[in-house]
Amino acid sequence: MLKVRIQREDFDPQAEAQALTDGRTDVGAVVTFTGLCRDEGGMLAALELEHYPGMAEKELERIAEEASLRWPVQGIVMLHRYGKIAPGERIVMVAASAHHRSEAFCAAEFLMDFLKTSAPFWKRQHLGDGTSGGWVEAKGSDDEAAERWK
């Protein structure tokens, strides 16, 4: 089960994770990652997420398929929001289920590392004083995180 969705609205991480195990007795491990908007010490009023409709879905699907080829995962969920997101709100979640924990952990980390570096989303900051903090710059540490899977 590979599930990918891009939406403006919030999502329910537990309902998504629960769907990976409902009615099954062969799942041993579920790992979830949830990414939230931080207020950066009170400086940030909101993040605005822009994406490339069509390609963003395709990239998430490609990443999910790649993960399922690398590890014997039983299910994968990738959800990403777009639009304006306030501090404390969820931005993204990934989940992976498998027989064993190492496979679920690896797959979930892989999903996030490649989501960060290859899914067409861009963040812009809105500051507390009403001005734009500009576009968030890509981090070298994210490229390095993705590199380790090569």
Partner: protein
Amino acid sequence: MKAVYFAWVRERVGKTEEDIAPPASVATVADLLTWLGQQGEEYENAFGNSKVIRVAIDQTHVKHDTPIAGAREIAFFPPMTGG
């Protein structure tokens, strides 16, 4: 072909998308970035430092040495910062 722009590329060009018709001498993504940078001040501003621009042809990431022949939609954007 259709050009689409995202994030600060979109802001600098001042458009979300447009039809472009580069001359036949423009063969690769790199050629196209150079040509786009010559289409006016806002384009120079967006594409002047073309090395940092990421490109997708028909919604698939491509390198700058990729030929553009047959492309229907070419997207230009900065490095991604989702997640």
